[in-house]
Amino acid sequence: MPDVQALVNDFVLKIKRRKIEGSQATAKHTAELLRQVVSQQRITYTNQAASLIDAVKAVGEQLIEANPVELAIGNIVRRVLHMIREENVSSAMSAVEELALGSDDDEAEHDNRMGLSAAAVAAAARSTLRAPSLQTLLEDIPDSATAPHPPSSGGDSEGKNKSAAESSSRNKKLKHDVIEAINELIQEIDTCHELISAQAVEHIHQNEVILTLGHSRTVKEFLFAANEKKRSFRVFVAEGAPRYQGHVLAKELVGKGLQTTVITDSAVFAMISRVNMVIVGAHAIMANGGVIAPVGINMVALAAQRHAVPFVVLADCMDYGQLGDSPPIRVENPAFDYVAPKLVSLFITDMGGHSPSYVYRLIADYYSAEDLVVRRKSAP
């Protein structure tokens, strides 16, 4: 698949040259690229999901290496991998059910075996995908030993030999489903801001004073949304050295008729006592509820805590990532800050507001545990 490789190289170059910036743009481009990868992937008859996963992983690895700090890439790769597994399991399950229906006339023992297998697959699927309900918990207990079956091996016992045609159609369906899911993901990335900014009116009230630092598209749209609802409020924008993106944000806000005051970063502490709420965008959100955000945010968060000002993080859907609490990234001229979860009052995501302690659960919804490390092998 040379054409895909060319696309990947092109994209990697763009990332390295910082032609594509911002988590949203990067995420969208990554998703589109992966969609290409999936659609170009030749269909093999056996173990198609595994080959898809391998292909996506291979590409993902290159992308992540291109810019290890841009976590959105890794997150999207993980999302896609997760979707492939999800689709595979669901199609396997449907196949198993079909088989189970078709083999009704067979021996009881055979039937029993198949039934057990199907149950195992279903349990495995549930345990990886769905929220643990009381019922699944009960079901899981007897089968816990058999649960760790690789889901992709679920359908290879007998059904595939019986009807190769059926299997191939199923594979085609899998690929189709994955592409569909990626399309949905792209759409989600597009609409994410709208979902977040729709909540603006619930959080911004009349005559509030809001402080933000640097530039974030999510924050901008959030403030616009509140402004459109005829809420009059005042925004302090810290300029956000060393990139001074705050000036860009200020210009955009002023253009929309918002009362905007540009302050230096050093004046954050001085002004925070008159601020009602701090709203910032995140670069990435850790599973422990910590935030990686443009440099300077930690200072703002500490000041906000000192003055008991709510510190709200607007979290894009592609921002979640990174399990564990990693310390701030070591870069020469630091571009990012790590904000400890205790400093964050609230995460506003496209699914509503969440407290920092709940983030781990959101992440579990998006990613599979197997994909935490995208690299296939540690040693090549």
């Binding site: 210009k251 302050i263 230096t264 200072m299």
Partner: protein, 661 residues
């Protein structure tokens, strides 16, 4: 401070009142002028209840003790005596005017009198009085009748004021920075003389205004009853007196309001009490009326920043540095301002001299120069005229840039010294003494103090330390260089911030001396703080609640250091301590040039280019912020190393005004 305490402990107002009438207070009054004391006594008999109304006569001495005993005690009395013993009304008027000129409204006398807004508050009457100041004695004589006519309303005001002290609401705005910097002696002296003058004229108005007297008596009684419950009730009259005494001259404008509002005396004792304690308020720039007046007098017509931030309406918002050329052009017209002072003012305005110590030293040296060239005009006393002169300089400097607290304290010291000069001293000696005082102040309070601080701080630096500092502080620089010279092995992290980038200057100097430096911007502070073992910061002032008032960003650095459990050491000379308190950085601050924010180093053209005229866009460039005391581990001063809670103790025990040389 000492003398002030006993009166407060006297809780019984009666005791206090006795104190007024009896020997304690009476002698000064008598020494001043028998003629003056007698009518006052008569008045007291007439108005038995309004005992305090006479107290103005007697009270000033205790009050002087309270604020600056040594100063006022010797000076005003002899002068007043000489003036008043001449018993001639005309002369007295002349002396009054002269004294007023010398003491109370010094700047008014100078042709280019652009003084504090307090002066600007003065209405027509005031300008009239200032006119007296300028007129020849004989002319004064002719003018006197009008003046005495003026006196009537003044007296009535006095009555209202003494009862209620209802100026208090009016007061804060009128007293301004400059007033604050004056030791308050001038006020008192003026007050004294004013009183005597009043007394001389008192009998008539009192008799005429019996209704007023009755009312006053009634109010007095009510107030006495009220204050009986409260300690310091006795102290109030003094306070009122002060108001009364100070106000009538400059502030005829207040009069009607005062009289009218005399009905709401209920909360007055409280207010008065507070007033006594509270420092004079600063000029509030959101008061349009006053700002207008100040502008009329201003030499430096600074362009106002277009968009004001709501929170900071009351601070002067100017675009700095735009008026330089205009000012330079005016140079030859401003004969009132000494060239050296003028130069310093321009340096402050242009930002050539920055930093509390540097500005203070530059100012003092300029004053020294000005004093060297000074000669007392005929028929004026050096003490008063020089004080007036200095006030004029100070108001010029304020126009160039608001005073730093260090400068304010230095001016207070200087005026204190001038006021304390014995009258018998020859002009030459007096000038020499003041000049040597200035030298000693610079030497002891700044240079030696810095050396002591450096020694103290040096003890806190260990090998292998990573020291963080923020911006450019002269003391911290000395500490680092000293430690380096003494072979300490340490690394320095210099944190800097926009728009001044003072840290780059420090970086250059230190690197040139071979120190190992890391340079970063303030946003990266949480990143760099991991490796830091000590934070050394300079301060513009330490306020008496332990709050550190310093360049903007200091609070952020201290906060992050605290979060990472790194000790924060503030280096500040004790002369910068100030008894004011502040909880946040909004209440008082200085605004820098907003346009400085626009220029972004990495981009040639500002991002904000094109929307500068939009009303919605405001740029805020703060110069200072207040660091809460709990972020501060230690304050290193010339008196030693202290926790921030000990600052008020230092200020009490080593009261600068008492200890200064």
């Amino acid at each position: 401070m000492e003398p002030r305490r006993p009166p407060r402990t006297v809780s019984d107002p009666k005791v206090r009142q006795v104190g007024f009438v009896t020997p304690a207070a009476a002698p000064p009054a008598r020494t001043v002028s028998d003629t003056a004391a007698m009518p006052a006594a008569g008045a007291s008999q007439e108005l038995p209840l309004s005992g305090s109304s006479l107290s103005p006569v007697m009270i000033p001495p205790p009050r002087h003790d309270g604020l600056s005993a040594r100063v006022t005690a010797p000076v005003p009395v002899p002068i007043a005596a000489t003036a008043l013993r001449l018993d001639n009304l005309q002369i007295r008027v002349g002396s009054y005017n002269q004294s007023e000129v010398l003491l109370g409204t010094p700047p008014m006398t100078s042709p280019s009198s652009r003084v504090e807004d307090a002066v600007s508050e003065f209405s027509d009457d005031v300008s009239a009085s200032s006119l007296y100041g300028r007129t020849e004695p004989d002319k004064v004589g002719t003018a006197f009748p009008g003046r005495s006519g003026d006196l009537m309303p003044a007296k009535s005001v006095v009555a209202g004021g003494s009862i209620g002290g209802s100026h208090t609401p009016e007061n804060p705005p009128t007293t301004s920075l400059v007033v604050k910097t004056l030791p308050g002696i001038t006020e008192k002296k003026r007050g004294m003389l004013e009183k005597q003058h009043d007394e001389a004229a008192a009998p008539k108005p009192l008799k005429e205004k019996t209704t007023k007297a009755e009312r006053r008596a009634l109010q007095e009684a009510q107030r006495a009853a009220k204050s009986a419950a409260k300690e310091g009730g006795g102290a109030d009259p003094t306070n009122t007196k002060k108001d009364k005494v100070v106000k009538p001259t400059p502030q005829k404008k207040d009069v009607p309001e005062v009289a009218a509002s005399s009905g709401k005396k209920v909360d007055r004792p409280l207010e008065k009490e507070r007033k006594k304690e509270v420092l004079p308020l600063r000029m509030q720039f959101d008061d349009k009326h006053k700002v207008e007046k100040v502008k009329q007098r201003a030499i430096v017509n600074q362009r106002e920043a277009k968009s004001r931030v709501e929170f900071f309406q009351r601070l002067p918002q100017y675009v700095h540095g735009t008026q330089l050329q205009e000012l330079e052009a005016k140079f030859f017209q401003l004969d009132a301002v000494h060239p050296s002072v003028y130069k310093v003012g321009l340096h402050h305005l242009s930002g050539k001299i920055t930093g509390g110590n540097a500005r203070c030293i530059a100012m003092l040296l300029a004053f020294k120069e000005a004093i060297k060239d000074y000669s007392t005009p005929p028929e004026k006393a050096l003490v008063r005229d020089l004080n007036a002169k200095i006030s004029g300089f100070v108001s010029f400097l304020i126009e160039c840039r608001p005073l730093s607290i260090s400068m304010g304290n230095a001016i207070k010291f200087l005026k204190n010294r001038i006021a304390k000069l014995p009258l018998s001293m020859s002009e030459l000696d007096a000038k020499a003494s003041i000049q040597s005082d200035i030298d000693r102040f610079i030497n002891q309070k700044i240079i030696i103090a810095d050396k002591v601080i450096v020694r103290h701080a040096f003890a806190k630096i260990r090998d292998g330390d990573v020291l963080l500092t923020y911006g450019l502080s002269s003391v911290v620089e000395m500490i680092l260089v000293y430690a380096h010279e003494h072979k300490k092995k340490f690394r320095i992290v210099i944190v800097d911030s926009r728009p001044k980038h003072e840290g780059q200057i420090l970086l250059r100097r230190l690197v040139a001396k071979g120190l190992n430096c890391t340079y970063t911007h303030i946003n990266a502070i949480s990143y760099i703080m991991h490796e830091v073992t000590r934070v050394f910061l300079g301060a513009a002032s330490v306020l008496s609640n332990g709050t550190v008032y310093s360049r903007v960003g200091t609070a952020c650095v201290a906060m992050v250091a605290k979060a990472y459990r790194v000790p924060v050491l503030i280096c500040c000379e004790a002369y910068k301590f100030h008894e004011r308190v502040q909880l946040d950085s909004i209440c008082f601050n200085e605004l820098g040039d907003p346009d400085a924010i626009l220029k972004v180093p990495t981009h040639v053209e500002s991002y904000l280019y094109g929307c500068m005229d939009n009303d919605n866009l405001q740029l805020l460039n703060l110069n200072y912020d207040a660091t809460p005391s709990d972020y501060v581990s230690m304050i290193i001063t010339d008196y030693g190393m202290l926790p921030p809670t000990s600052v008020p103790v230092i200020m009490r025990e080593y009261d600068p005004q008492n200890l200064w040389i």
